[in-house]
Symmetry: C2
Subunit: 240 residues, 2 copies
DNA sequence: CGAATAGTTGCACGCCGTGCAATCTGGTGC
DNA sequence: GCACCAGATTGCACGGCGTGCAACTATTCG
């Protein structure tokens, strides 16, 4: 299982404490958001639940919403990590698609669905999440530049990365809105949507792409009335 | 000249006062951001400069940053308006491209460049701007659904609109970073970038598209090393 | 004009986010 | 083990934020 915190490196007590604290705060924030509702709790409450002072909370996060949105950062950093480990000689879009596909296997995926829904009723949380995507955009653009070469035009890079993330975001929104995340195939549901959205992007949105369902039939992906094509995962390269 | 506030409708005193106040506040905020630097002024100062009370400021905007970001909303609403007035039978991407192209002729375009640069040094301003794009995404998706038909799949719509806006955003960022906005061809510079970015999107990012320069030569749009194609505006349909 | 309605203002309150100095804790060299 | 130091936590204080509320003022309408 992919993990946000996996790191076999020997790490000192100090560093480990920081990681633990950061995690404790993020978890406390998420628990509170669940029980009290998004935007209906204070930094003080988060700190108390995490067992630190209010001041320490603000040493780790700028706001309560940031403590929630940090999970989005985790998801995107994970995807970036997977992308970096893919063979550089395969078609670019295959790498992109597989990076995000793979990342849907991460632990704690279900929380992301909740997070997206929470953002619907808390504008500040939405902003924090948008900021997370924005930060990831920069990181991914850098990684892409390393892969495509330093001469790659900026506009091409940023437009591409922005579009890819927009499609992924759209897929996750759709997934969060329509899928019960305690379902056993929740991950596959998300993966199918990401695949569909990124395939549409690769095809220049010339037409809608159906979201393949678990039972093998294609979902109602009716766009402009034409018959939607069905997306398929790229050939099964192995992770390096 | 396109205008954010143009409206020939007969409007009562009450309504006009609100419009004036809103504008006065937004202008005051922008002036302050210029003179004091983004994030270096208070709501109280904005209110004072706009000639209203602090409380009234908060009746109009949720924060100082929102008062700045409202200009982004204006730009995007303008583009949406142009899009709605285009003939519905032309190719979708032609409409999209021309809608944004056209909008670069708006008044006060230069301020947008400044706004983008300000966001680099003020995270809260960046968040407010991202929120503006997000809100516009919803509006544009609705307009697109009206055009494509109510059966259009949600994921197709949101992925498309998100990508289009990401490309436009990328174009504006690039423009803001590279172009002196007091240049006489500032508008054309932006238009060329938007055209290039949206053309790349339409082509599924199969390769970079050069940004045509005013002198007729193509700019250095070198992507993966292949020869970049040059973008061209769609045929000159007339606005309805 | 007078009543109704909509917008403005001052006030008060709890919370936010951060600089600062005191304190505590884990790492390092002896 | 002990002394020391860098780094992390904490309490405190302060200015600013964002909003509910009630009083006040301006516009609209009969």
């Amino acid at each position: 299982m992919l993990s946000t915190t996996e790191s076999a490196e020997p790490v000192g007590r100090r560093e480990q404490n920081k990681i633990d604290t950061r995690r404790a705060i993020a978890d406390a924030a998420f628990d509170l958001a669940r029980s009290e509702g998004p935007g209906a709790f204070t930094a003080e409450q988060i700190a108390a639940r995490a067992g630190v002072s209010r001041r320490t909370f603000f040493n780790y996060f700028h706001s309560a919403e940031d403590a929630l949105a940090v999970r989005i950062d985790g998801f995107l950093e994970l995807a970036l990590g997977v992308f970096g480990r893919l063979p550089q000689d395969e078609p670019l879009f295959d790498s992109i698609i597989r990076a995000f596909s793979e990342t849907t296997r991460m632990e704690g995926l279900s929380q992301h669905g909740e997070l997206f829904r929470m953002a619907n009723s808390d504008p500040d949380l939405l902003r924090a999440q948008l900021h997370s995507w924005e930060r990831a955009e920069v990181l991914i653009a850098e990684a892409l530049r390393r892969r495509l070469g330093p001469a790659t035009h900026d506009l091409y890079l940023t437009a591409l990365v922005g579009s890819v993330l927009s499609c992924t975001k759209a897929a996750m929104r759709d997934w969060a809105a329509t899928t019960a995340e305690d379902a056993t195939d929740s991950g596959e549901q998300l993966e199918a949507r990401i695949l569909a959205a990124l395939t549409m992007l690769r095809d220049g949105f010339s037409g809608p792409v159906a979201v393949p369902l678990a039972d093998g039939t294609a979902g109602a992906g009716d766009g402009a009335g034409s018959q939607p094509a069905e997306a398929a995962v790229p050939p099964p390269h192995r992770l390096a």
